[in-house]
Structures are given as C-alpha cells and as structure tokens.
Amino acid sequence: MTETLIWTVVALILIGVYLSWTAGRLDRLHSRIDAARAALDAQLLRRASVTQELATSGVLDPAASIVLYEAAHAARQAEEDHREVAESELSQALRAVFGEPEQVELVRQAPGGPEAAEELAAAVRRVPMARRFHNDAVRAARALRRHRKVRWFRLAGHAPFPLAFEMDDEPPVALADRPA
C-alpha cells in the first residue's frame, strides 16, 4: 500500500517536472517571438522612413517621389490588420521605382546620395531577414503548442496563438544585388 503510494508520488513529481520544463520551453519561445517581432517592426519602420526621406528629398522625379511617398506613408499609418498589405505595397512601389540600376546611380550622384542609397539597400535587405527569423520562431512555437501535453494542461496560458507575418518582401534587384 505505502509502496504504491510512494511510486504514485514519484511519478507525479516526474510528470510535474517535465511539464514545468515544457512550460519553460514555451515561455522561451514566446519571448523569442516577441523579440523577433520587435526587430521586424524596427526594420519595417526603418525602411518606410528611409523611403519617405528619399521621396521628399527632391532627388527623384516628381512621379516616382509621389508613388514612394504614398506607399511609405500608408505603410507607416496602417492598422495592424492591414499592415501586411500596406508593407507589400511598399515593396512593390520600391521595386517599380528602383527596378533599373540607372535610377540607383542617379540617387548616388546627388549630394548625400551614396549614404541614402546605402541606407535604403540595407533596409530592403534586412526586412526579409527579420521576417524569416520571426516566422521561424512562430513555426517552432506553433509546433510545440499543438502538442497534446501543451493543450491538455493548458501550458500556454492565455498567450494568443502566434501568427506568421506574411508579406511580399522581395527587394528591388538594383538594390539587393551588389556586384562590384
């Protein structure tokens, strides 16, 4: 009788330790998502600000300036549920304007242009990076949260089910490719 009791207690403790360890894993994944999301936000915002700066600088022709300004402005002001679309539209606008290497060359020739072009190139390259890291964290968390032990014991608490950030983040060829 006592023996059974001891074994039951041991088993319960082991299960408890395992569950607490799993909860720790999940907690770590959630904080990884938070950090990745903050990094992604920072990169998106950076891209929009550099674009806006370029659009208002007068280096580009008026039509291109307006297209870029509109898209950058919409991306910065977008509500959360419209964000992915607005950011994708900014990517498309950037691709339309900076599709040709000559356009980038034009920006470089203006005073302060080389820095602006370099900043924009860095921004459009980092957005896909940050987004990939974010979605990778989301995938790992979702895989663990779908597991039986997590669902049955409600280890995730009230944390919302993580969502991937889906957008078109293809950078303009003339800015992404840097031969020579």
Partner: protein, 384 residues
C-alpha cells in the same frame, strides 16, 4: 559588438568549416569587433589569440566517417564558463546539429543565438531519431543561416523552419592579385583536392584524360593535394603519365598562383558538396571553371552562367568540354570575365556585412547572451 563563435570541429585539422570560421573571425576583428572563438584543440597546438580551447576532441565514428568531437560534462562545463566570462552580445554557432560544442552551447546558452548550417545530407534514420532530442536545443536559435540553397533545403526537410541564405566568404582580391607562375602556364588543366578521396572526383578526370591528352598534344594536368600519386595515375597509359604533374600539398599562396596560372580549372566532384568554395576561389583568380553539375556547384556557378557544367560522373562529357575549352580562347576569356564579376558577391566585404546584419537584427533590443539557468539542474528548475 562582442561576438562569440563556436567551432564544432578540431582546430588542428584543416577543414572548410574551420577556415570559414577563421576568416570570419579575422574579418570581424579587422572591423573592430571583439571576437572569441571556442574550438576543440589539442593542448600543445599553437592557437591564434582569439581562439579559446575547449579541450581535446575525441575521435568517434559519426555520419559515415571518423569525426573528432567534443562532448561530456567536462566540455559542457567549459562551454558554460566561456559563455559566462565572455558576456557576448551574440553567439554564433556553426553546425549546431553535430553532437559537439555547437549543440552543447545551444543547451547552455540563452539570448541571441545565430546558427550556420554548412552540410547538406540526405534524411537519415539517425536524424529522425534524434529530432526530439535536438528540437528543444534548436528552438533557442534566433536566426538560422544556410550557406547554400542545398544546405537550406536539407535544413527545411530535416528540422522544419527556414533560414536566410548567406554564402561562404572568400578574400577575392587575395586570389585576383596572385602572381601567375610561368611553369604552370600553357595549356594546363588544374585540379585541387584530396587525391585518394573518390568523392573529389579525380578518378573521373583520369578516365577522361587519355582522350584530352591525345586531342590536345600540348596539354598537361596539374594536381595539388594529398594522396597516393602512383595509384592515381595507374589507369593511364605509361607514356601519358609524365603529363600529369603532382604538386603535393600547396600553401595558400601557391594555391592562388596555381589558380591564376591554369587555363581551365576542373572540378569533377561526384557528391557530398554543399557549397564549393574552391570554385569561388578559382573564379576569384580568373580561372575558367569546368565543373560537375552537382546542385551546389550549379548554384555557385549561376546555373552555368559563370562556368561550364558537365553531367556528373560522365567522363566523356568532361573530355568533350575540356577539349572544346582548351581550343577556344575567346570562350575562356568570356568565362573568366563573367566569373570575376559574379564572384564579387562572395567577397568577405559583402558576406561579412550580411552576417553582421543578421547579428544586428537579433540583438536589437535583446539582452546579452548568458548561461541558461533552466538547464542548471533540478534544483535551479524547482527554484531551490
């Protein structure tokens, strides 16, 4: 930035991953970052100042060959001490799935962790069995880098998730500026790699060679690399053996000069390559490249745009292409020019900037790397 880099393989043994880490560390130090590399090394090996030894690696059979790995609680303790003393902003682990220092660091660390996946191999039973063991450790990696599209595909198939593509780096100017050597010039084919390792493909080249040497009476083959030279030429007719020259192991300088001198660099590798750094080095030196059409090679050569490809293990196709190239100077010049401009994307200035961009993305707003107390044992976990 304070950067900790973990090398899973013995520092004493030359290898692609080790060279990559050495060049990356030196590049980052030149840019003014503080870098510490943790690597297995014998006690008496002289180490560069930025390398910290994690003790001697133990040779164990792993993944089809004998690998020198570090594991066990002594190594784990060394990893924890290194992490604790280093207070790194970011830790960069190489090859985190090999049962060595990389995996141990994944276990012991928390905070921004970047990992680079170098190898590509088919899905194995061992990998499937190890998946539940690996997963909790791999979950801690904030950013994954794959060195080629091929390595990335392996990663996606085995472990799920995604990675950004950043190729291995090469110091392009080191090769571009090397001085060609007179006696290595004039209708020469070049091959660099282990002679006795069939996957490097020398046997394929040897089967193609009789026809090449018959059609191009002035042609010669230069071979640089370790291995049994007698055995390598055993399949050739006796009168042709003198037209194969063995240079043995060559220094980095001589390798660059050899690549600058040859008319065609041949890469007949039959498999097991996930990147093909030698092709990048050959292109840097302006050598026209003729390579087997492995996935990884096709990727590096821009699907044939920056170098010629032939059907893998097909000695006849290799012979045809080599004969054509040796007789067509205009095509060689074209390949050389295309290769030289294509290779710029593999230069350390570009690759290093991309890796730093990854570091900056994951450290933005994150705390520094520290030892993970949750794996410190039951006591820590229960809060006692």
């Amino acid at each position: 930035m304070r950067i900790g880099i973990v090398c899973p393989y013995s520092w004493d043994v030359p290898g692609g991953v080790q060279f990559h880490i050495r060049d990356l560390a030196e590049h980052l130090i030149r840019l003014g970052h503080e870098v510490s590399v943790l690597a297995p090394a014998d006690e008496d090996t002289p180490l560069p100042p930025y390398v910290v030894s994690a003790g001697r690696a133990v040779p164990v059979p792993y993944n089809g060959s004998v690998a020198r790995l570090n594991f066990g609680f002594l190594s784990a303790a060394r990893v924890r001490r290194w992490l604790h003393d280093g207070t790194f902003d970011v830790v960069h682990i190489h090859e985190p799935t090999s049962p060595s220092l990389g995996l141990l660091t994944c276990w012991a660390a928390q905070g921004p962790i970047v990992a680079t996946f170098h190898t590509s191999n088919p899905r194995s039973r061992a990998m499937i069995a190890a998946y539940p063991i690996l997963q909790p450790a791999l979950e801690k990696i904030s950013a994954r880098i794959a060195v080629s599209e091929y390595a990335r595909r392996t990663l996606v198939e085995h472990l799920g998730g995604d990675a950004v593509l950043i190729p291995n780096g090469v110091d392009v100017d080191f090769f571009a500026r090397a001085e060609p050597k007179k006696e290595w010039q004039g209708e020469t084919l070049g091959f660099i790699g282990r002679i006795d390792e069939p996957r490097k493909g020398l046997p394929v080249l040897m089967r193609a060679l009789p026809r090449i040497l018959t059609e191009r009476p002035g042609a010669r083959l230069l071979v640089a690399g370790r291995g049994d030279e007698e055995e390598a030429v055993a399949s050739l007719p006796a009168e042709m053996r003198s037209r194969v020259e063995f240079l043995g192991m060559v220094s980095d300088e001589d390798k660059a000069r050899l690549l600058r001198s040859v008319d065609v660099y041949v890469a007949p590798n039959t498999g097991g390559e996930s990147f093909g750094i030698i092709l990048v080095e050959a292109m840097s030196a302006g050598a026209p490249v003729l390579a087997a059409d492995l996935d990884a090679f096709a990727q590096v050569l821009d699907q044939g745009g920056a170098g010629e490809l032939f059907a893998n293990e097909d000695a006849d196709a290799l012979a045809d292409a080599a004969i054509r190239l040796l007789g067509d100077e205009a095509r060689r010049a074209e390949l050389s020019a295309r290769g030289s401009s294509h290779v710029r994307r593999f230069d350390w200035s570009t690759v290093g900037a991309d890796i730093l961009a990854v570091y900056e993305t994951v450290t933005d707003g994150a705390a520094a790397v520290d030892t993970d107390e949750r794996v410190g044992g039951l006591r820590a976990r229960l809060g006692l």
